[in-house]
């Protein structure tokens, strides 16, 4: 009897051990399906995540994409739609019963407005899962914990990350950690009217090289602008306006100044460089080469028509001007305003870097890259979010990787005249066959994407435009970024006020510099974040 009881007890214990083992192994298996390691093999990773989601009963993943900017830059959200389609295709081909649905493609014109909206809705879990916006907002969003740190994920995809231009990857970092992937960037060339140049005997052959070498400086710009004026051309120079567009701060860099001190983390008011900037602008107005009220000119009725109608020799603009002139009715010289043809833009405009301020200094350009950021709550609208957060976040990262595919990036560049952020995309732009396929929309794209970019493609895809992008890509090697500092917009506003007052003749350049210093010191918070360095040069002369 005792023996039977002993056997029975032993069996119960054995059953208990086996059962607990089984239960234990089941737990282990469940733990495994709630996360997936990224290996760098895109298909493998996508399948691992898809299978893990499927095993957890998730068959649909909902994401939303928020973007902003000019109407031609819609690939900022449609890139995500296309990435979802490509991932869905991988799952479908491999029998994984999961599908990504993009529930909302929210796109507005004002990127500042989009940023404000993201700030107010993110804490409530109601902001887009993908948010593409200026790099300037990245530090604040990262600091607040509103966007995902993708440093570790990106380590697995080093091959892709290395294909991005390194300066743009640096712009996507905050305190050494990666918080997004570059989506696009641009350069701000100095446009020169070829017909006006020919009329005044200004030989443009080799001008790009002369600017690159610092041989052609702002003194030369002034010289030729005067010649143009003397020949009856209305203006010598037209430039952009407003503080949101940081074009004019190129003068600071061109005169060897700086705007940000990385060691102290403070903004810099570089007095000598700012004085020279204001002096050049003031002198241009005094000589009648630049309108004194340019800062209040209307974009569509004054600034662009003056440039496209050849009423100025020089223009400080952006790369996107190239296609903007082809899509908007700015040219009214023949009566009813019309857009320019690609051939006209090519025939009428030469383009160079922003020349050095003086001999011995370097030319520059300025970029404001847009970054694809991932909401730190990405995937929140999906089932079992708390349990599967890691899977949703990694899937969101893989979507951004896919949305950065060279062809998607190249399509965006060509139709919006922004510069590609990946070297592979830059190569694609020069591929004539691919351009033809894009022109005919003979590409494997989501039907929704095709429908929505059809009109833009018809007006912008042209070998001349692609050549332009390829030609200006080198400018990224000279690019400077405006400081991604939370107080920079306040400082930029002060710069704008000072420039406006100097141009209108209400202040001398010296008074303009003092005005900037006083305004900075009058705002205690700004004063704490700004270093004022150097003095107004005494013997400096501008031709």
């Amino acid at each position: 009897m005792k023996g039977k009881v002993g056997v029975l007890l032993a069996m119960v214990v054995l059953f208990g051990v086996i059962a607990s083992g089984c239960i234990g192994s089941q737990e282990t298996s469940e733990t495994k399906t709630t996360s997936a390691e990224l290996t760098g093999d895109f298909v493998k990773d996508v399948l691992a995540i898809g299978k893990a989601l499927e095993s957890n009963g998730v068959n649909e993943v909902k994401f939303s994409a928020w973007g902003s900017g000019d109407p031609n830059s819609v690939m900022r959200v449609y890139g995500i739609v296309e990435a979802a389609r490509r991932i869905n295709k991988v799952w479908e081909e491999n029998g994984v019963n999961v599908k990504i649905t993009i529930t909302d493609t929210h796109y507005v014109a004002s990127f500042q407005d989009a940023y404000q909206e993201y700030l107010s809705k993110q804490p409530l879990g109601q902001a887009g899962d993908f948010f593409v916006n200026s790099y300037a907002f990245l530090p604040t969003l990262a600091d607040e914990g509103y966007i995902l740190d993708i440093t570790e994920y990106a380590n697995a995809y080093k091959n892709v990350i290395d294909d991005f231009y390194s300066s743009l990857i640096e712009a996507s970092k905050f305190k050494g950690k990666l918080y997004g992937l570059p989506q696009d960037t641009e350069a701000r060339p100095l446009y020169i009217r070829k017909d006006v140049a020919a009329k005044i005997g200004f030989n443009l052959e080799g001008i790009e090289e002369k600017v690159k070498n610092g041989e052609f400086t702002w003194g030369d710009v002034s010289y030729w602008a005067k010649k143009a004026k003397e020949s009856g051309v209305e203006w010598g120079l037209i430039h952009r306006k407003g503080s949101a567009h940081p074009d004019l701060i190129q003068f600071i860099f061109a005169f060897g100044g700086k705007l940000y001190d990385e060691d102290s983390g403070k903004l810099v008011v570089d007095v000598p460089a700012i004085y020279k900037w204001l002096y050049v602008e003031w002198k241009f107005v005094q000589d009648g080469l630049l309108p004194k009220d340019i800062m209040s000119w209307d974009w569509a009725k004054q600034i662009h028509p003056a440039i496209v109608e050849g009423r100025t020799l020089f223009d400080i603009g952006g790369t996107w001007y190239w296609t903007e002139w082809q899509t908007k009715e700015y040219y009214g010289k023949e009566g009813t305003p019309r857009p320019l043809k690609p051939e006209e833009v090519q025939a009428w405009f030469a383009y160079t870097l922003f020349p050095a301020g003086e001999k011995g200094l370097k030319p520059v350009t300025l970029s404001q890259p847009f970054i694809w950021m991932i909401n730190s709550k990405a995937g929140q609208q999906n089932p079992k979010y708390d349990e599967l957060e890691d899977l949703y976040h990694k899937l969101a990262f893989l979507m951004v990787i896919k949305a950065s595919d060279p062809d998607i990036n190249a399509i965006h560049s060509v139709i919006s005249a922004h510069l590609p952020v990946r070297k592979e995309a830059a190569k694609l732009i020069s591929d004539e066959k691919w351009l033809n396929d894009l022109k005919n929309l003979n590409l494997d794209l989501d039907p929704q994407v095709k429908t929505n970019i059809k009109d833009i493609v018809a007006t912008t895809v042209h070998p001349i435009n692609a050549k332009f992008l390829a030609d200006v890509s080198y400018m990224l090697e000279y690019t400077k970024l405006a400081p991604a500092h939370p107080k920079y917009p306040a400082l930029a506003d002060i710069f704008k006020e000072a420039v406006d007052k100097v141009l209108r003749g209400e202040m001398t350049p010296e008074e303009g510099v003092n005005y900037i210093i006083q305004k900075v010191n009058a705002d205690p918070e700004l004063a704490q974040n700004v270093e004022i360095v150097g003095e107004i040069p005494k013997d400096w002369k501008f031709p």
């Binding site: 000019d70 109407p71 031609n72 819609v74 959200v77 493609t105 796109y107 507005v108 014109a109 004002s110 407005d113 989009a114 404000q116 909206e117 107010s120 809705k121 804490p123 409530l124 879990g125 109601q126 407003g242 567009h245 209307d298 974009w299 569509a300 009725k301 903007e324 899509t327 908007k328 009715e329 009813t336 305003p337 929140q380 609208q381 929505n452 970019i453 059809k454 009109d455 833009i456 493609v457 018809a458 007006t459």
Partner: protein, 289 residues
């Protein structure tokens, strides 16, 4: 002898001209906005050359397009409907609460009545912007965890929050209207056996129609044109946030924005045109005794 007081006709045209002159900037602004919405260029320089007629802007607006070529399409009808829901919601709540509260403050004696009236007046002194941090905190505390309720709740909350800003002044306004009605009207109803709520509904409310309309209109306008509360709390877009988010001076097609702006103005203008007679009674106050 004249049975009504009349102004001498002499010099009347000077008054009319002065009023017209004073209103000119406003009329001109609206006129240019409407004209620009039918033009390929903005007509902002009073030059006829700028006016190049087209209905393309209106077609684009109704198609929810933000630009002439391509771009993202927004569902403008849905955006208009959202705006209408918020405006009517605010209007309804403000009207209901202020007619009830105005009546009780005008007709009933209860403890704390004067203090409540004073507090209401003080509350009105606070601008909505000053309260937004507290209102946002409350929003976060009461926010539903279930994602499917979020959109609905955001409408509910923005309507309540916006109505709360309008209610203090509206209550005072309605109290003023109830004060002008002689007690005899109410007494006759009560003597006939009607309850206070029936008296309020069947006797008092019909007598203060102009006041109700005024309060409803102000509530509607508050909801229709609100930007800050809508942008902060509402998940969906309204016309105000749609227009604001798409005005980017450099690359927005301004005539298209002018068309959206005109569409935004239409209900307000229609409301005023159809209700102006009643509103004038509201402004002059009083009833026939």
């Amino acid at each position: 002898m004249k049975d009504v007081e009349t102004r001498p006709k002499k010099g009347e045209w000077i008054i009319v001209l002065t009023i017209l002159f004073a209103s000119l900037p406003l009329i001109l602004g609206f006129a240019l906005l409407i004209i620009s919405s039918f033009s390929r260029d903005m007509v902002t320089d009073l030059s006829l050359d700028s006016f190049r007629p087209t209905i393309e802007n209106w077609i684009n607006v109704f198609q929810g397009r933000l630009a002439i070529t391509g771009g993202i399409r927004q569902n403008i009808l849905k955006i208009t409907l959202n705006t209408l829901v918020v405006a009517l919601g605010v209007s309804g709540i403000v009207t209901l609460i202020s007619t009830l509260a105005g009546y009780s403050l005008s007709r009933m004696k209860f403890r704390g009545r004067k203090l409540m009236m004073l507090l209401l007046l003080m509350l009105h002194a606070f601008p909505g912007v000053a309260l937004i941090v507290g209102v946002y905190l409350l929003y976060r505390l009461t926010f539903p965890q279930e994602p499917s309720f979020v959109r609905l709740y955001s409408f509910f909350y923005v309507i309540l929050a916006r109505a709360a800003l309008e209610i203090p002044m509206s209550v005072w306004l309605m109290k003023g209207f109830f004060d002008t009605i002689p007690w005899e009207f109410e007494w006759s109803g009560i003597i006939d056996g009607a309850s206070r709520i029936r008296v309020w509904r069947q006797i008092m409310l019909p007598l203060i129609k102009p006041g109700i309309l005024a309060v409803a209109l102000f509530g509607f306008l508050a909801g229709w044109q609100d930007l800050i509360y809508v942008r902060t709390f509402l998940i969906d877009q309204t016309l105000a946030t749609f227009i604001e988010a798409n005005i980017e001076a450099e690359y927005s097609h301004m005539p298209l924005i002018a068309a959206a702006g005109t569409l935004y103005l239409l209900p307000t203008i229609m409301f005023f045109l159809t209700a102006q007679q009643l509103l004038l009674q509201g402004y002059s106050g009083g009833i026939k005794g």
